[in-house]
């Protein structure tokens, strides 16, 4: 039984079958990549997993509990964190505040009326935030406004905000989209480190095959809303069905 079990998911948008009978199992302690050509339904699937979309049929079980019908913040509290294609951070707040907020969310739940306590008195939270910023090499930038960070730093900040919650499953939506080669390499190294040091299960949606094959332990190939194959990276390379999905009809 995997950490995340997706069974028979269907989702239609008007006449378009975005997801058709998708089954997916993400094992604990693996990096699982979901790849596929444009329009294959990768983002739709991700949005189902985080509660942004509700599928027409099927079930999504996470850690033994159903995810369907829950709001995004409830799903996060269950232990699923998400990194977005364009970093979603609190731009008007300082870097330090950005990482303190998930610390509070982890400790106090979805809502707590802590209006009288001072932030400055929250030593435990501050230490946690400092530690994660040190881990992603951003400690010296902690007083900067998040909106003034470079694109790569915003990505790292968002990653830190997810990691500090110590999620059971980290979902990454094209973490290297639009990045320069050097930045891509840095991100790959950062993710590898997260995987080995923290043992967090990761699901990655990615276009860049270089990234996929350097990180993934399992790969699912989606095409036209249905999983084609699921296998190890070595077996996926050169798989005829995958070639067909990416390059159109196989040429002899």
């Amino acid at each position: 039984m995997g950490l995340l079990e997706v069974k028979g998911i269907n989702k239609r948008f008007g006449g378009l079958q975005a997801l058709g009978d998708v089954n997916l199992s993400i094992e604990e302690n693996t990096t699982h990549a979901i790849i596929g050509p444009n329009g294959a339904g990768k983002s739709t699937l991700l949005n189902v997993l985080v509660g942004k979309l509700i599928p027409d049929s099927g079930s999504v079980m996470f850690d033994g509990q159903s995810v369907l019908g829950r709001k995004p913040h409830e799903i996060n509290q269950m232990g699923i964190s998400r990194v977005f294609q364009t970093p979603e951070i609190f731009s008007d707040l300082s870097v330090f505040e950005n990482v303190m907020i998930p610390c509070f969310a982890k400790r106090d739940g979805a809502f707590r009326m802590h209006a009288i306590e001072s932030i400055f008195a929250e030593r435990g939270i501050q230490e946690q935030a400092d530690a994660i910023l040190a881990d992603v090499n951003m400690l010296e930038k902690k007083d900067m406004l998040a909106s003034s960070l470079s694109r790569g730093d915003k990505r790292r900040l968002e990653m830190a905000m997810c990691l500090v919650q110590d999620p059971k499953l980290l979902l990454l939506d094209e973490p290297t989209a639009g990045m320069a080669r050097a930045d891509t390499e840095n991100t790959i190294n950062l993710l590898k480190e997260i995987r080995t040091k923290r043992g967090i299960t990761m699901a990655i949606i990615e276009h860049d095959m270089n990234v996929v094959f350097s990180l993934a332990e399992r790969i699912t190939v989606l095409a036209q809303g249905t999983p084609l194959v699921e296998d190890t990276p070595d077996n996926i390379k050169g798989h005829p069905k995958v070639r067909e999905a990416y390059l159109g009809e196989a040429q002899v």
Partner: protein, 399 residues
């Protein structure tokens, strides 16, 4: 100190000092002099400064922190006023129970309106709050006349069934609001040379409430709760994907600011025990928005400055009339005098709104952070001149 950082504590001390010494500070010109009309140190206006200060501080907790622009906060102020007057009519002329009930009523009322309005955000939220406030105004004006007094407003009468205290004074008058016998309208006048300073009991009561309100707002700004509210303003998507439910946070902020409005309404009724429906009208809601933006939304002291500035304009600028203008420009040759007076006249007296409008536009265009940002810019200029070697701190949050 008091759970505050040194910087915030210093700000609190400054506010305490200014409010306590306001009768001196606002009366800088000797009685009977040419400039005496610019004196603002009379009880009625000073009371308005602090009461609208409270209103704006509370509004800023909602608008400044979460960015939810409510256009209906006057409804809570009005509800608070009605509650307070009813307490005077039914219970006692002591102001404390009246103020307490006004806060409670405004809190419950804002819980109801907030619960419904906060299902939407942005312009739709603003329109919903505006609709509710106008609805309340219309109801208070017509259908609810038995409770609100309708067009004439809710007033005390000689036959009020007051449980604690008499319906009439010994001389057959309506009793006045008091704090354990200290009448709100009573004043102590101090004459120093040609200066006259008035210390009014009602003003000091309201000032103490404003200091408490200001202190509470600093605590909220510096609390994890306040940080969550700023996070809501910044990015709601990240908020929910971080496991936080924005709805109860915004509702709590809405109710807190509603209670501040109720406190202001209760104090208003305590100074002058009557309440009218026009306190709920949308112009009154719009006024507090102007105060907050003019002073600096999201800053601690801004709303108080904005409230003070608008009330000063409203009461002092509007009193200047044509005769006074002619007096000022009498030194000019006749034709020129008439010309200058004609040019200046639209901006003063009844035209004070025009001046306020121009100031407001200038502030919004050149100082989006309000008067506080203006102050910071001026302070920054001086600091740069004094020392170039200190580290620049561009990300310092607004004070």
């Amino acid at each position: 100190m008091l759970g505050l950082e040194m910087k915030d504590f210093r700000l609190l001390l400054i506010v305490i000092g200014l409010t306590m010494l306001a009768p001196f500070i606002l009366n800088p010109f000797p009685e009977g002099s040419e400039m005496a009309q610019f004196n603002a140190g009379y009880p009625d206006l000073m009371q308005r400064f602090v009461i609208f200060g409270i209103f704006a501080i509370g509004f800023n907790i909602l608008f400044g922190l979460t960015g939810y622009l409510s256009f209906g906060h006057a409804a809570f102020l009005g509800a608070g006023s009605y509650g307070a007057v009813w307490m005077f009519k039914l219970l006692s002329m002591n102001v404390l129970p009246a103020i307490a009930i006004s806060v409670v009523i405004a809190g419950l009322f804002s819980l109801l309106i907030g619960f419904i309005s906060l299902r939407r955000s942005g312009i739709y939220f603003s329109i919903l709050t505006l609709a509710f406030a106008q609805m309340s105004f219309a109801l208070a004006y017509s259908v609810l006349t038995p409770i609100t007094g309708g067009e004439t407003g809710l007033q005390l009468a000689l036959d009020d069934p007051r449980i604690f205290g008499a319906s009439q004074t010994a001389t057959g008058n309506i009793p006045v609001p008091s704090l354990f016998g200290l009448e709100m309208r009573s004043s102590y006048e101090l004459e120093l040379g040609s200066w006259l300073f008035t210390f009014n009991a009602g003003y000091y009561l309201a000032a103490v409430f404003m200091i408490i309100a200001f202190y509470m707002s600093i605590r909220i700004f510096r609390s994890p709760f306040g940080m969550m509210l700023r996070a809501i303003k910044s990015n709601q998507t990240r908020m929910s994907y971080t496991g936080l439910n924005a709805r109860p946070y915004t509702l709590a902020a809405f109710v807190i600011s509603g209670m501040y409005a109720g406190l202001a309404g209760g104090l208003m009724a305590s100074m002058d025990p009557l309440a009218g429906a026009e306190r709920m009208q949308w112009t009154a809601s719009g006024e507090v928005v102007l105060m907050t933006i003019l002073g600096g939304a999201g800053t601690l002291i801004g709303p108080v400055l904005g409230a003070g500035m608008i009330k000063y304009f409203e009461n002092i600028f509007s009193k200047i009339n044509e005769t006074i203008l002619h007096g000022w420009f009498a030194f000019l040759p006749d034709g020129l005098e008439n010309f200058v007076v004609a040019m200046v006249y639209p901006f003063i007296g009844k035209g004070w709104h025009l001046t306020l409008g121009i100031v407001f536009m200038l502030v919004v265009i050149f100082l989006p952070g309000g008067l506080v940002q203006g102050g910071q810019k001026i302070a920054g200029l001086f600091r740069r001149k004094k020392a170039e070697d200190t580290k620049p701190n561009a990300t310092e949050p607004a004070e």
